[in-house]
């Protein structure tokens, strides 16, 4: 597939980079990335990935837009209140870049559908606001051997890590343990968040996906990047794969369908 003159123009400022070029741009156009969550993290991630010319974005969210989302969820506008987040996001993303095919999933991701939804992805972006979903995405992607990145935000803080199952890098469970029950921590609605934090973290997630697909630079594997925008601190915490991890350890088994993911197990029933 040759790039059209319009595509060359559209992507010229990244094609020009040594790390991208026409070959890299074609890889991006041939790739599929799935996004779990179209809130604040997903908004910035989806925007930049669509703009970068990712060929297919699968966007997964069950929720509708509320007015209290708008200070941070930049894909959704005032006119979109009460609309499905997927529909609202798809409108903007298609308008931004017709090269990018948007696949909509208006549903919860659950142990029953997670493998089917994520199996054809080259990379998965986790951008939900709850730990059970993060664990489900972690376990599903490890089982499917799909690389993924997980970010979380609260107040002025954020954290992000990337997992490449094929390279046996540390997974989310290696770091955060065997969380099998929902409601194990505060969510944004309980603790508040400043809008720019998920903006920054969402961009970092998009950057991880792009670097993986182009096989360039360094990924945030075996480390957690911790961001404190109140104090402008960006710290890296080294983490290690746990041989006894129930998701990726030496005796790990497929956890999806086996463990309790809080309320997610009963969604869609």
């Amino acid at each position: 597939m040759d790039l059209t003159d319009e595509q060359i123009n559209r992507y010229s400022r990244q094609i020009i980079l040594k790390e991208v070029g026409g070959i890299g741009q074609k890889k991006l156009l041939d790739s599929k990335i799935s996004l779990v969550g179209l809130g604040a993290l997903g908004s910035s991630t989806a925007y930049y990935l669509a703009a970068a010319g990712i060929g297919t974005l699968q966007i997964i969210d069950f929720d509708t837009v509320e007015i209290s989302n708008l200070h941070r969820q930049i894909l959704h506008f005032t006119k979109d209140i009460n609309s499905k987040k997927t529909t609202s996001a798809a409108d903007k993303l298609r308008s931004l870049n017709p090269d990018c095919t948007i696949e909509i999933v208006n549903d919860h991701i659950t142990p029953k559908n997670s493998k089917v939804l994520l199996k054809d992805s080259n990379f998965v972006i986790e951008g939900s606001d709850n730990l059970p979903t993060k664990m489900l995405v972690n376990d599903t992607c490890i089982n499917l051997k799909i690389p993924f990145t997980i970010a979380g935000v609260l107040r002025f803080h954020g954290q992000i890590m990337t997992v490449v199952p094929e390279n046996m890098t540390s997974c989310y469970r290696c770091v955060f343990g065997d969380i099998t029950e929902g409601d194990s921590s505060m969510s944004c609605s309980q603790a508040g968040v400043i809008g720019f934090v998920p903006g920054v973290l969402g961009c970092l997630e998009a950057n991880e996906a792009l670097k993986y697909i182009l096989n360039i630079g360094e990924l945030l594997t075996n480390k957690i990047m911790y961001v404190d925008l109140l104090k402008n601190r960006f710290d890296f915490i080294e983490v290690h794969r746990n041989n006894k991890c129930i998701a990726c350890g030496d005796d790990a088994k497929d956890l999806v369908g086996e463990v309790n993911y809080g309320g997610l197990n009963s969604c869609n029933e």
């Binding site: 790039l3 123009n9 026409g22």
Partner: protein, 87 residues
């Protein structure tokens, strides 16, 4: 419009980017070079003066081609040919 074709210059490939300005001049040159085997020569026809410096410099920085020669196409019209060897 840009166009590519065979050239009479020792089996080289021709790229016509007259009408293009920087940085698109380099983008088209880079895309053309990506398609060529190592050692092949690319003749770039252009009319944007700044590209005479920018294209060879960018090719050198990214280590994708070596500048062989810059030739004037006409004595009365600002058009040139840059000869680049794919690295």
């Amino acid at each position: 419009m840009s166009s590519m074709g065979e050239s009479n210059y020792k089996g080289s490939i021709q790229l016509d980017i007259r009408g293009k300005t920087c940085p698109l001049t380099f983008v088209y040159t880079k895309l053309a070079l990506e398609e060529l085997p190592k050692g092949k020569i690319l003749e770039v026809y252009l009319d944007f003066p700044a590209a005479l410096k920018n294209i060879p410099e960018s090719c050198k920085t990214q280590n994708i081609a070596e500048l062989l020669e810059i030739k004037e196409l006409h004595s009365d019209k600002p058009e040139w040919i840059i000869l680049l060897k794919k690295l």
